[in-house]
């Protein structure tokens, strides 16, 4: 069948601009699929290898203080195969030339052997010497943010005592792939550092000689996790255990899991959308092609080509376009994926990245796209298959036109003949006109998804940091502290207002569901920390009961009035049943809230606090920072402005990347759909238009008839596209919800404007290209051939 293949290539060449437009849409879909897919696979693969090679622990717990002798008892808990006790100390740091407060965490490593769990990956330098008490290893991220290299010195405040340490190495740990200050939402490697010191030296510095305050366990299998956690919690209660947890609740691991979920969403939603558009285009084009080649199909069959051979011929055409798109998409995707993976590497501190395209991914994308294209064009291909040759040799019955709605309403006097032709074209094939509109609307909608997040994130920030968290500074104490600490904070330079809070780790249970989170007590009527209702109005804190972040409420399936079981994971670990007083609107993080005194009562403790929010006078900030560093009880200081900046920086890096790609791809889609529609209109109406030219119509007049129809459809499609865009955005927002953040479904007017502009410009460019073709319409040739 070589001649048939030659026909295929010639025709493909003739319709190359259309084929390219469709292939480009497929390139976009496949590229996104491969980009996210390869990145996800790379990150998962890297994570798995890293966890395994560097012995990431299975169970984690901190406590006030336990004697080293307890280690043996922990090790005998059934299911436990590795036990590593540690000293973990909150610290303040000073780096020469950096004026703002830096907090961090200093973790012990065994003196004379390798860690059994959570091993360090040494990037630079060496491990600390067992007999030195002034050597430290810093996390690579922190070292990088401050340009620290081995040999540099650091001033560290441990337990209120200032010490000078020498950096001997930089390292990474599977425990801190995501490195964030607890309670923070975005990494800030300059203001938060993770450091490691020898066990003996840190024990001395932190007053933990012969004792530990943190333990990590390796288990034989995942099945034992709940039993081990139970046994561990029972064993550690007398020692101030803070509640054991597994990997799912480990901060870094949880963050990674959430991110992976997001990538998975993007890896499915967007390629599916693009594929949908591509299949739509293919369907339209093949349908048209089969329609136009009725007689050729009839002739082939008359000469003994079978139905299957003919259908296969058109299928090959489809596959040629699809496969060209897939191949180009795979390369583009692999290339973009490399950049994306590198972008993720700035958030995920992996020592290495296992990035490579895997066969299942490539094969999957190929089969998925080819399969969808075949299914999508099945109707058109079936028409080619089923066309009876005797039937095909008869010319297609002339199209039936009828009076349009407008004429039935008697409005035709207001319409010129060209306008009437336009309306009749549209009305004659309402389904086709509808499909064209749907294609354009889809393009418009997809354009919106690429853009809406930018404005929305601004809104999230405003709500979180302007309406809700309004402090300048947040300080947290090493442990719950007496209420009197307020007065010492009030006495600090520049402090204008202090609002305290109490946080306690809890596990919330409702029916079968449970979630480990923070319960936060705040005083009623506060001004620096406010809770918001669904309408974003400040909420009066009820005297009784607990308020939950709306998303947490959904996760647990609770509503106002339900009774929630609260297991406190600290102190003597009381378990209480409390009524849910309501849900609060929060876009970032999740937590439960209570009135401060009520929480103190629930914990059966006096008026204790965990930290405070401060409003401060900007002019004296440097002096205030210096004083804060010297207060040993303060474990961490967060500057709100800095948090906002971190948020922006993180979002901008990722957003810029996505917005850029999404915009380019959206333009391709819009152009692909509109250009194809115009080309098909041209092939369908070419004869008619040429006849008009012969009758004396000008080029501009026939262009008006052809492009006027398209223009009208484009204008009608845009509002339709806005609706589709809202739908896709809602789908995205719904799927992207996580404990870390929920993007609200707010679409800024600029997003609509942008989408409409992309569609209109694509229409204009398509129109100009078609206009050029129209101008070159060969009148003789068109009239010579019969349709």
């Amino acid at each position: 069948m070589r001649s048939l293949d030659r026909k295929l290539w010639r025709e493909l060449w003739q319709m190359k601009s259309q084929a390219i437009a469709i292939a480009l849409v497929i390139v976009c879909g496949v590229a996104i699929h491969i980009m996210f897919g390869a990145t996800l696979e790379a990150l998962r693969q890297t994570q798995a290898r890293y966890y395994q090679d560097y012995r990431f622990a299975d169970v984690f717990v901190s406590m006030k203080r336990a004697p080293e002798s307890l280690r043996a008892r922990i090790a005998t808990i059934p299911g436990v195969v590795e036990t590593e006790t540690r000293v973990v100390a909150p610290i303040n740091l000073e780096v020469a030339g950096f004026p703002e407060p830096i907090t961090g965490r200093l973790i012990s490593i065994p003196d004379n052997r390798e860690s059994r769990l959570n091993r360090l990956y040494l990037r630079q330098g060496r491990l600390v010497a067992a007999d030195r008490d002034d050597e430290v290893i810093v996390s690579e991220a922190f070292a990088g943010a401050h340009h620290l290299t081995p040999g540099a010195r650091l001033r560290v405040v441990i337990n209120g005592r200032r010490q000078t340490l020498t950096i001997v190495g930089t390292a990474l740990s599977p425990e801190y792939i995501n490195q964030m200050r607890p309670g923070s939402l975005f990494p800030d490697y300059q203001r938060y550092g993770v450091l490691w010191m020898g066990r003996r030296a840190l024990g001395v510095a932190y007053g933990m000689e012969g004792a530990f305050n943190d333990v990590v366990l390796g288990l034989a299998s995942d099945h034992a996790v709940p039993e081990v956690i139970d046994a561990l919690d029972r064993l550690l209660t007398p020692y101030g255990g803070l509640g054991a947890y597994d990997r799912e609740d480990q901060a870094s691991h949880r963050f990674l899991s959430e991110e992976f979920n997001q990538i998975t969403l993007s890896a499915t939603l967007f390629p599916a959308l693009f594929l949908g558009v591509a299949v739509f285009l293919l369907n339209v084009v093949v349908n048209r092609l089969v329609g136009m080649q009725r007689e050729q199909i009839g002739t082939l069959k008359a000469f003994g080509y079978g139905n299957v051979a003919v259908a296969l011929h058109y299928l090959k055409l489809v596959l040629a376009i699809v496969l060209a798109g897939v191949v180009a998409g795979i390369f583009t995707g692999a290339w973009l994926g490399q950049s994306l993976a590198e972008l993720y590497m700035t958030f995920f501190r992996f020592p290495f990245l296992d990035y490579r395209l895997t066969w299942p991914l490539v094969l999957g994308a190929t089969l998925f796209n080819a399969g969808a294209a075949v299914i999508g064009t099945a109707v058109a291909l079936r028409a080619a298959f089923a066309l009876r040759p005797a039937e095909a040799m008869r010319p297609e019955p002339p199209a039936r036109y009828r009076a349009t709605m407008i004429e039935r309403l008697g409005l035709q006097r207001f319409l010129s003949p060209p306008n009437r032709m336009i309306l009749r074209h549209i009305e004659r094939r309402p389904l086709k006109s509808l499909l064209t509109m749907l294609g354009i609307a889809l393009a418009c909608g997809i354009t919106m998804v690429g853009r809406f997040q930018e404005a929305t994130i601004e809104h999230m920030l405003d709500v979180h940091y302007k309406l809700s968290q309004r402090e300048d500074l947040a300080v947290t104490f090493v442990e719950a502290t007496a209420w009197q600490a307020i007065s010492s904070l009030m006495g600090l330079p520049g402090v204008e207002r202090v609002e305290v809070f109490r946080t306690v780790p809890v596990r919330l249970r409702f029916q079968q569901r449970s979630h480990r989170t923070i319960l936060k007590g705040i005083p009623a009527g506060g001004d620096l920390q406010r809770l918001l209702d669904a309408g974003l109005r400040p909420l009066a804190l009820p005297a009784e009961g607990v308020l939950l972040t709306d998303y947490l409420g959904q996760m647990l399936g609770v509503r106002a009035g339900d009774r929630l079981l609260i297991e406190v994971l600290e102190g003597n670990r009381p378990v209480r049943e409390v009524a849910v007083a309501g849900l609060v609107k929060e876009y970032l993080g999740v937590a439960g809230y209570m009135e401060l005194a009520g929480l103190n009562r629930l914990l059966r403790e006096g008026p204790a606090i965990s930290g405070a929010y401060l409003a401060v006078d900007d002019r004296v900030r440097p002096a205030l920072y210096r004083r804060l560093e010297e207060i040993p009880r303060i474990a961490g200081t967060a500057i709100r402005e800095q948090e906002i900046r971190n948020f922006h920086r993180t979002m901008e890096q990722t957003m810029l990347f996505f917005t850029f790609i999404a915009t380019i791809f959206a333009i391709i889609i819009a152009f692909g759909v509109i250009y194809n529609s115009a080309r098909i209109a041209l092939t369908e109406q070419g004869r008619e238009l040429a006849s008009l030219r012969v009758l004396g119509f000008t080029r501009a007049e026939i262009a008006y008839i052809l492009l006027g129809e398209l223009g009208l459809l484009v204008l009608l499609a845009i509002p339709f596209g806005f609706l589709i865009g809202q739908g896709i955005c809602a789908l995205f927002v719904q799927g992207a919800r996580s404990e870390l953040y929920r993007i609200p479904l707010i679409i800024h007017p600029s997003t609509y404007a942008f989408a409409a502009t992309v569609v209109l410009v694509s229409a204009l460019v398509s129109g100009l290209l078609i206009r050029r073709k129209l101008d070159r319409l060969d009148l003789i040739a068109v009239l010579k051939t019969r349709d």
Binding site: M1, R2, R10, E295, A302, F303, G304
Partner: protein, 238 residues
């Protein structure tokens, strides 16, 4: 006059009904017909009399609504689609009024399209030479005149050495001179290759070329004429 002995086609009581919504169009109302090997037959009749319908059934493009249609002793009317396809592929060559060449293929390739799936074909070049187009082989249909296109179509139809050549108004779209050239080619194929040939026309003058002329009217065979002497195409007065 040549005597034809081997019967190629035997049609008995052929009817064809096209349902068109409520009404039914009776295209054939009971046609009995025999065609013999090597014969040149002209089907004559006014427009709408059922000529194309009969030709299509002969060629396996369509099936009769009732009646029997035998080709070489096999009953075509019970053939399914795949069997009809094989029948067309192996035995029938078609020439249509509007040539129906594949516009994206050159003359040679249009012929090759058919020779590639035939069992014992002529070379495309040979077939084109037969119709006098040896020098136009690499032209696309758009670069050929109507008569040249129709000759390509004939080359395409005969290249597979079919037993029957079926032509539906092959000169309908052509001027007299060109029409004569095309008919000459058809007549030559019939004579030199011995192909049973059926030509539809509503031009009675062409009938003089035939061995037999079958007059169709309103879905029935009105009468059949036998020419004592076949006239050469160029002798025909239009």
């Amino acid at each position: 006059m040549t005597a034809f002995h081997d019967r190629v086609f035997l049609a008995q009581g052929l009817t064809k009904i096209y349902p068109m919504g409520e009404i039914q169009v009776q295209a054939l109302r009971g046609v009995d017909l025999e065609l013999f090997a090597g014969e040149f037959v002209v089907l004559l009749g006014p427009s709408g009399s059922g000529k194309s319908t009969l030709l299509n059934i002969l060629g396996g493009l369509d099936s009769p609504s009732s009646g029997a249609m035998q080709y070489g002793g096999r009953n075509l009317s019970v053939y399914d689609d795949a069997e009809l396809t094989r029948y067309r592929r192996e035995h029938v060559g078609f020439v249509f009024q509007f040539y129906n060449l594949i516009p994206s293929l050159t003359a040679r390739e249009n012929v090759a399209l058919v020779t590639e799936i035939a069992r014992n074909p002529l070379a495309p070049e040979e077939a084109l030479d037969l119709v006098g187009l040896a020098d136009r082989m690499d032209h696309f249909p758009a670069q050929l005149s109507g008569g040249e296109q129709q000759r390509v179509a004939i080359a395409r139809a005969v290249a597979k050495r079919p037993e029957v050549l079926l032509c539906d108004e092959p000169t309908g779209a052509l001027d007299v001179q060109t029409g004569i050239r095309v008919l000459t080619v058809i007549e030559r194929v019939n004579r030199e290759l011995g192909t049973t040939t059926v030509v539809i026309t509503h031009n009675a003058a062409i009938a003089a070329m035939a061995d037999r002329v079958i007059h169709l009217s309103n879905g029935l065979i009105a009468h059949i004429d036998r020419n004592a002497q076949r006239q050469a195409p160029h002798e025909i007065v239009w």
